[in-house]
């Protein structure tokens, strides 16, 4: 990389680091992350409600939900292809 561009890249990197070091940024980032995690868990909850189990409200871990979703989709595909 030519010397000028390298210097610009370095100062961009420094500006980014300085921006991210503030308490305000960290707090906003933590909030964004909480929202992301909640949305993720909500999606798992919705998927869980679609899966047939006995009892229907049995507690399932995330990996169990994924595995059962794979089996259930395969089953539904099979049944509808017949």
């Amino acid at each position: 990389m030519p010397l000028e561009r390298e210097e610009h890249a370095r100062s961009r990197e420094e500006r980014r680091r300085r921006r991210r070091a503030t308490a305000k940024y960290r707090s906003a980032h933590a909030c964004r992350e909480r929202i992301r995690v909640v949305a993720f868990n909500v999606a798992f909850g919705e998927l869980r409600r679609l899966l047939p189990t006995l009892p229907p409200d049995k507690r399932m871990s995330k990996i169990e939900i994924l595995r059962l979703a794979v089996c259930y989709i395969s089953y539904l595909n099979h049944v509808l292809d017949v």
């Binding site: 047939p52 006995l54 399932m60 990996i63 595995r67 979703a69 259930y72 989709i73 395969s74 099979h78």
Partner: protein, 116 residues
């Protein structure tokens, strides 16, 4: 969590599916010291996401986030359930008895491996 039965119409298949779900959960819960390392690795979250991506027809080269995969899967299952109810309404008894007989025998080998 509210108890909802998602498979309202396919009554005789419901038991078969719950049996399958129990089996797949039992495999997950039991600690098998003899299970090959590669087999347990195949059962991890990333492999499930890949498999689900394939099942809901998302091209493998497309980069999709995990939460997007879940959203596609939710829509896909919902659509399949609706399709099943529509089919069930047109030819109930015959459809149910054929499907109930098939279900325990005709899983593809790959899906069986995931369940067992």
């Amino acid at each position: 969590m509210k108890a909802i039965s998602p498979v309202r119409s396919v009554r005789s298949c419901y038991k078969a599916v719950c049996c399958i779900s129990e089996q797949s959960l039992a495999i997950g819960r039991n600690k098998h010291p003899c299970v090959d390392e590669s087999v347990s690795a195949l059962c991890d979250m990333n492999d499930c996401y890949s498999k689900l991506k394939e099942l809901v027809c998302i091209p493998q080269n497309k980069s999709v986030s995990q939460v997007e995969i879940l959203q596609h899967v939710i829509d896909y299952i919902f659509d399949l359930q609706i399709a099943l109810e529509a089919e069930d309404a047109s030819a109930p008894e015959m459809v149910l008895s054929i499907k109930a007989a098939d279900i325990t025998h005709n899983f593809s080998k790959e899906e069986e491996r995931l369940c067992h």
